[in-house]
Amino acid sequence: MMDKIFSIKIHQTDEPFCKLPQPSEEAIIESKILIERLEEEVNNETTEKVQKDILLCHIGQ
């Protein structure tokens, strides 16, 4: 049920991105690496700990 709701929306909201300069292969690969790295970090630490550290970054320590 949820799968369906979200996948339809993903498709619908993709439109504004078509008007922007499309990312190069290099940018796509780099983004994959960053997301994987964050996934690893989240798996290694507790999500709560990562979140708190992110928040601290935002307020500038």
Binding site: M2, E30, E39, Q51, D53, C57, I59
Partner: protein
């Protein structure tokens, strides 16, 4: 060396802010001005791990090691560091300072015997007096502003009054600025401070108590001459042009405060200082004339903590602001050619799904970056009135040095929503961080970009597209929660996680592309 001042290493590399610790800069400036040899060890910037810190500390042969603590996470790291340091060097004096320890000193001193003392509230002269006492082998336990253990008791000495004239402080030491400029030329920002204190008493903020518990004038600002002199020195010494004012309140809410800020802007221009800078300010305190003047002297970004989009919640947080004013100010601010950063607290012990929907709708309507705030859950810091209220209600939990509220007592589905989105929050924060750094890069390189307006419009369009997409996802989820009683939290959580991580990858590739193009254009300009 007599004293080492340490900033804990607590943040993920991916979210790092490349700026110095001004707290350590001020502390070391006062110590050095008084002839006390001091070194700064910034474990956060240099990514120094605990073992490496111990090696540095052993080599340095210090009498005192001081840690700056800005939050529970850095306290946790410092407790571990203190245990390791004391094992190798039992005679060294470990002192900590900052907001959390100023309020939670009793607990800290009880559970971390390796920490010898806590310097409470403004620390510059407490640390100076402590260092003098220890170096001269005098009794340090009589130092004003200090707390320490005496057998099984925790003693809190009489507090030091607040520093009355900030111009009397030496300029903060900038030991790490050359390192930042060299290593992170596209990302660093020079932190600078105009004043201290805040005139409001928001329930979630520890700033009001920090500056009202000790005696003295709560709100103080440096003179414009003193501030401009420091900026001028930094510009000529390090060739920097990018500043971030870290004041809680930049423009004092009076005719005099407004006039004074206009004079500051004029002074910067008169001295020919071509800098650009960010400020943080209450939105009701933003005056069009002052902002215009600041923009003409280099203002590029304003951070405003808005906290909630419903009047009832704003009142509960004691923000003393009306939603109408918020809306009016945001509308005219967005006509200015500057970056507006906002934050709000999406998860509170007393808000509802309806309030959260209003936050999302209201704050996203202008395409502002709401991504980080979406997962923002109140952390009731010690020293805040919300911390005390939650404790009284039995709704406060302590986990080590961290405090959390236990549950939402008004709408349990708010906790369910948080539970579902929790694993996805770091990915939203990553996008927000990348948006911010892309905009910072743009501003830094603006003068070198031929078509800077096209670039900026691209960035804003991308931000809007991302924000609208996230908004849709959250609204669907909220709607689902509102209309279903039996909810499979685990299924929803992994569903949302999958969607957000996939989307984050896409958003990120667009952001990285824009960054790449800015850098390419700068290179071709240099070439």
């Amino acid at each position: 060396m007599a004293v080492a001042l340490v900033r804990p290493n607590t943040a993920s590399k991916m979210f790092k802010i490349f700026s110095e610790s001004l707290a350590l800069g001020y502390l070391s400036a006062v110590l050095r001005e008084n002839g006390i040899e001091t070194s700064i060890i910034d474990c956060y910037l240099e990514d120094i791990k605990l073992d490496d810190l111990i090696q540095r500390v052993l080599k340095g042969d210090y009498h005192i090691i001081g840690f700056t603590i800005s939050n529970p996470s850095s306290l946790e790291w410092t407790a571990k560091a203190s245990q390791l340091i004391k094992k190798e060097k039992p005679g060294v004096h470990i002192v900590i300072g900052g907001h959390t320890p100023s309020f939670d000193y009793e607990y800290i001193l009880q559970v971390v015997p390796q920490i010898d003392s806590v310097a409470r509230f403004e620390g510059e002269y407490i640390l100076l007096n402590l260092a003098r006492a220890i170096i001269n082998k005098h009794e340090w336990r009589t130092t004003k502003g200090l707390s320490f253990r005496d057998q099984n008791k925790v003693i809190a000495n009489e507090l030091m009054p607040l520093i009355s004239d900030l111009d009397e402080l030496p300029f903060p030491q900038r030991d790490y600025l050359p390192y930042l400029i060299d290593k992170y030329p596209d990302d660093y920002s020079v932190y600078i401070n105009r004043g201290r204190g805040c005139y409001r008493r928001c329930t979630f903020c520890s700033v009001p108590s920090f500056f009202t518990i000790p005696n003295g004038k709560i709100i103080r600002q440096r003179s414009n001459e003193n501030l401009i002199l420091e900026i001028e020195k930094l510009v000529t010494t390090y060739m920097v042009d990018n500043f971030t004012f870290i004041d809680d309140i930049f423009i004092l809410p009076s005719k005099e405060g407004k006039k004074n800020t206009i004079q500051l802007a004029e002074g910067l221009k008169r001295r020919g200082l071509k800098i650009y800078f960010s400020i943080a300010e209450r939105i009701d305190n933003l005056d069009e004339e002052v902002i215009e003047e600041l923009i003409s002297s280099g203002l590029i970004r304003i951070f405003v903590g808005l906290e909630a989009a419903t009047q009832e919640i704003l009142d509960k947080l004691d923000k003393r602001i009306s939603k109408k004013i918020m809306e009016e100010r945001l509308t005219w601010l967005l006509t200015k050619n500057i970056d507006i950063e906002i934050s709000f607290i999406n998860f509170l012990p007393f808000n509802t799904l309806k309030d959260i929907r209003e936050n999302i709708n209201f704050f996203s309507q202008w395409g502002l970056d709401i991504l980080r705030s979406l997962g923002n859950r109140l952390e009731p810091y010690p020293g805040t009135s919300i911390h005390d209220a939650l404790r009284m209600e039995g709704n406060l939990a302590r986990n080590g040095f961290f405090y959390n509220y236990i549950r939402n007592t008004v709408d349990p589905k708010v906790d369910v929503l948080y539970n579902i989105i929790q694993p996805s929050i770091p990915f939203l924060a990553l996008i927000s961080h990348q948006l911010r750094t892309t905009k910072t890069l743009f501003w830094k390189k603006k003068t070198l970009l031929k078509n800077f307006d096209i670039f900026y419009n691209y960035i804003l369009l991308l931000q809007k597209a991302i924000v609208f997409e996230v908004r849709e996802l959250f609204l669907i989820l909220i709607d689902y929660l509102e209309h279903h009683e039996k909810i499979d939290i685990n299924q929803l959580r992994s569903e949302i996680y999958e969607v957000i991580t996939a989307k984050a990858e896409k958003w990120l590739s667009f952001l990285l592309e824009i960054k790449k193009q800015i850098k390419q254009e700068v290179l071709s300009h240099d070439g």
